[in-house]
């Protein structure tokens, strides 16, 4: 039995220290999922904490035959989807607290220029993610940030495997379309500045 299963078993028997170890181990994946889903550091922190609290309350329902991390991420994803549905009609800015979230640095990055470009690319991607429908967004995050297989995504989100495939394709095409739109807008703006043509 691996360490994680032992902690889960101990936590089920009321060992809070064992649960604290689970929180320490999985805080980054859960927080990352919440941050990518909600787009705000503060909301992500809150959602990640609520996810762990839900897990604590429902540990007895966990099927020990399945990986703990996928169960945990499944709860986090559903929690965020519920939150997004609740605030569908309210507006918020993801630019306000971009600086408060800390992206794990690449230890192998030697070229500062390339690293800056990569960060800019990631910032754009994070911004575009917020344009996707919540389930598509969750599928993309689980696939690319958490290396989940299509089967794992399907079970986590309660979808069929073909539905996951179709959602991943659709979401990537939508992201590409938005990406292209942004580039066109940036080019137009650059041309306008170059020729000093007045904006209409």
């Amino acid at each position: 039995m691996n360490e994680e299963k032992v902690w889960v078993l101990q936590a089920r028997n009321g060992d809070d220290q064992a649960f604290a170890l689970l929180v320490e181990t999985y805080q980054t994946p859960v927080y990352n999922l919440c941050y990518r889903m909600l787009g705000e550091a503060e909301a992500a922190e809150d959602a990640a904490q609520e996810t762990f609290l839900k897990v604590y309350q429902n540990l007895s329902r966990y099927d020990a035959g399945r990986p703990f991390v996928t169960w945990l991420l499944s709860i986090a994803a559903h929690h965020c989807i519920d939150k997004l549905r609740r605030r569908r009609f309210s507006t918020f800015s993801i630019d306000e607290d971009e600086e408060t979230s800390f992206e794990l640095p690449d230890r192998h990055a030697l070229d500062p220029e390339a690293e800056t470009a990569r960060r800019e690319q990631q910032r754009r991607l994070q911004h575009l993610l917020q344009e996707l429908e919540p389930l598509d967004r969750a599928a993309i995050i689980l696939r690319y940030w958490h290396d989940a297989s299509e089967i794992e995504i399907a079970e986590s989100l309660g979808l069929s495997v073909p539905a996951v495939k179709s959602r991943l394709h659709r979401a990537r095409k939508a992201l590409a379309a938005l990406w292209q739109e942004q580039e066109l807008a940036a080019e137009t703006q650059a041309e306008r500045i170059l020729y000093e043509s007045p904006a209409i």
Partner: protein, 174 residues
């Protein structure tokens, strides 16, 4: 512009042969839509996780402690309410005997016995009334209506149980 099979190659993320790779690169130079798809795919593949601010575990422990304290308070309130209910019920049931005991302590065992007999007789009377009522009702309502009503009640109960299970069920990942 014809995006096939280039879009499929990009969406499939399968390894390409050198010839396919060359064709794809040529297409990407001419097709901004596929170039954007390629850029997005690269950005997604280079994605790295965001980490919470330091002290996440400690902040969670504070929240957990608050939750556990609230749980203990709710439990204590529940036990107190139950105890108060039981006490009220006992007072209600024993009130006649207590009254008799207070007015004439020497007769209290006899009074207690007579009260118990009274409670038993009342219970039998309620039971007989209910049985008679159901007999009358059976005569008034046709059998098929009774069966339908029973089935509807059972169906409603089943739906209520299923909806409760669905609402309280958490997803089980793989």
């Amino acid at each position: 512009m014809n995006h096939q099979p280039f879009e499929d190659w990009l969406l499939g993320e399968q390894p390409l042969t050198s010839e396919q790779h060359r064709q794809l690169q040529a297409h990407l130079r001419a097709c901004p839509a596929c170039a954007a798809l390629q850029e997005v795919t690269e950005a997604l593949q280079a994605a790295r996780p965001a980490a919470p601010a330091a002290g996440f575990g400690a902040r969670f422990q504070v929240r957990l402690a608050a939750y556990q304290a609230a749980q203990r308070r709710r439990m204590a309130a529940g036990v107190l309410t139950l105890a108060a209910g039981v006490m009220a019920m006992l007072v209600f049931l024993l009130w006649p005997a207590a009254q008799a005991f207070l007015t004439s302590p020497s007769l209290s065992p006899a009074s207690l016995f007579s009260n118990l007999v009274r409670v038993w007789i009342s219970f039998q009377a309620y039971r007989d009334t209910l049985t008679t009522f159901l007999h009358v009702l059976n005569g008034l309502i046709p059998a098929h209506v009774r069966i339908l009503a029973t089935l509807l009640t059972l169906g409603g109960g089943w739906m209520w149980f299923i909806s409760l299970t669905k609402v309280s069920r958490l997803p089980q990942g793989v």
